[in-house]
Symmetry: C2
Subunit: 339 residues, 2 copies
């Protein structure tokens, strides 16, 4: 009952060699129409599906892509994953996903994802350490980065987004339109390049408007709802005055709102709140969130596309920079409904 149907069984039933059956299945060579019919019939009769591992071994190609993710808990990663899946499916690749959140150090040491089980990997931000990255690159193994620039001596292709200008526009809006003077910022994770550039955009907006950077207004939101909630709470408890908070991303913006509401503050009348990403929740928050739209899904799609090019030995641009866009809603203080 558990005995597997093999290509040999199909060949026998069709009265033909396994070589020809293989050619028919893979469309890798012409097969006489008479034989094609008999093979097709045999396949359907026997319900034959090729054994993936045997194909992989014979072809020396896994037809699977590896994906290093930090976590799967945020809706952010669902969007990213959609983009990756879409392109991978188009090209008939299967996905192997590892979230650093779930995979223990021990498992990672066993090299859960690499040359032994994928044709190439995609790395989100710092979810894979430099050491392993360098090892793979040195072996010429196809790797693409998302939201992280290549170590300068390696030239690993990467897809990034326009963080700095986006935040610059966002914070400038707060200053120019809503006359905000004390804008708190919730930083993202330390090694996260998005976090770095978003802070740079924030600083640029301040300095261009002749406002001093005040360390008191800086907290760590970690691109995380609960962390952000606690961060804003700390600000409040330290009695720091602020009239706006740039939360780092939308998840954190949602946490900021919770903390403010819990303190009895009104948004945006007492404190304006803005985010980054324009995730689905952004428009559902109350008040609807003013934020920067980032093409999250596109990043996944483009990175996967690059990886496939790389695997096929085609040339790829080393860096793709995707644009972002200011989305005005109500949490900044604007009244009109722009969306």
């Amino acid at each position: 009952m558990k005995t597997r149907v093999r290509i040999e069984d199909v060949a026998k039933r069709a009265g033909i060699s396994t070589a020809t059956v293989s050619r028919y299945i893979n469309r890798s060579d012409y097969v006489s129409s008479k034989n094609a019919e008999r093979i097709q019939a045999a396949i359907e009769d026997l319900n034959y599906v090729p054994h993936a591992a045997a194909q992989t071994l014979a072809r020396q190609k896994t037809m699977t892509l590896g994906l290093f993710f930090p976590s799967l808990t945020s809706a952010y990663f669902s969007s990213l994953l959609r983009g990756v899946e879409m392109r991978a499916n188009q090209a008939n690749y299967t996905l192997l996903i590892h979230s650093s959140e779930m995979v223990t150090k021990e498992i990672r040491k066993k090299r859960a994802l690499g040359e032994h089980n994928t044709d190439g990997i995609i790395v989100f931000s710092d979810s894979l350490d430099d050491e392993e990255l360098i090892r793979l690159a040195n072996r010429n193994f196809p790797v693409v980065l998302m939201h992280r620039s290549s170590p300068s001596f390696l030239n690993i292709p990467t897809v990034i987004i326009e963080n700095k200008n986006g935040v610059y526009n966002l914070v400038s809006h707060l200053i120019e339109v809503h006359d905000c003077r004390r804008i708190a910022i919730l930083r993202g994770p330390e090694k996260h390049e998005n976090a770095y550039w978003r802070e740079a955009g924030y600083r640029k907006a301040l300095s261009e408007h002749n406002m001093a950077f005040d360390p008191d207004l800086v907290e760590c939101g970690e691109f995380n709802t609960e962390q952000a909630r606690l961060a804003v709470k700390r600000l409040l408890e330290k009695n720091i005055k602020f009239d706006a908070v740039f939360s780092g991303d939308d998840d954190a913006a949602s946490g900021s709102m919770m903390a403010l509401r819990e303190a009895g503050l009104r948004i945006p009348e007492d404190v304006a709140v803005v985010g980054f990403d324009d995730q689905i929740i952004a428009s559902h928050l109350s008040p609807p969130l003013t934020t920067i739209r980032a093409p999250i899904e596109q990043v996944g799609f483009q990175a996967t596309d690059k990886l496939i090019q790389l695997i096929d030995g085609k040339p790829v641009e080393l860096q793709t920079l995707l644009p972002t866009e200011l989305i005005i809603r109500h949490s900044c203080g604007c009244k009109e409904n722009f969306h």
Copy 2:
């Protein structure tokens, strides 16, 4: 440069046979400590990692689990996936995930997930059709269901949750404590058993309180934020009067709140809103959502555990029923903060 390091290379460097190297790596037999050391050194020198497909082929075991999901867009599935991953990782299994949302019919017809590339599969609700389910079961291929009962003649193990009683308690709370008289219900997807039993709980609560079931109060929320928003909008536009809405799940509850707010209605003063699941967003909504806590992650964990037992040829309980719990917050009208 791209030449692979094989077990043979390790064997040569250690001056020993591949058989012994294999035994050492898999701890499948005793190896003299002298040889063990030399093998370990060779592995590290060469940076050797076994080729997954070759192992699969030789062992006749893929060490991977297949997962059929409807989509990845809701945070709900992140939780479920966490549970699955946790158990799979413990047992050293890899995951292959297919969301029906992303996978085209064409791909599915090619049998993307099955005996040729997994040791067993987990099926969420109706994300795999009966035909394929029956085919697999007839071949004795390990399958476990989540939120779906087995076709009666098949005895496929399943993990489900207490929907009916949960909703019964929830709706009874609305009636008894908040004196709600016209409670709208947003149905889930048609073939979804959770949807069926939740409606059953709703009906039971009504009838036990001598309230008539009014078809006017029924709409389709599809366990989806946007669909639910539109559904409540329809109710409002049809001028149906209601003082509460059981939204089917938390995603839909969030959509209900949006529609009500857009219509200028206050929650819970004008209309109470309740959900099901107690997802992370539930406590973040404004007002915080009264709902039923479902052990989402546990469902994933238990289903995966069952599947592993099945693969190992161990006996499993045919049906695991996980309890749910009423979580009172503010969206029902309660003032105290219970959580």
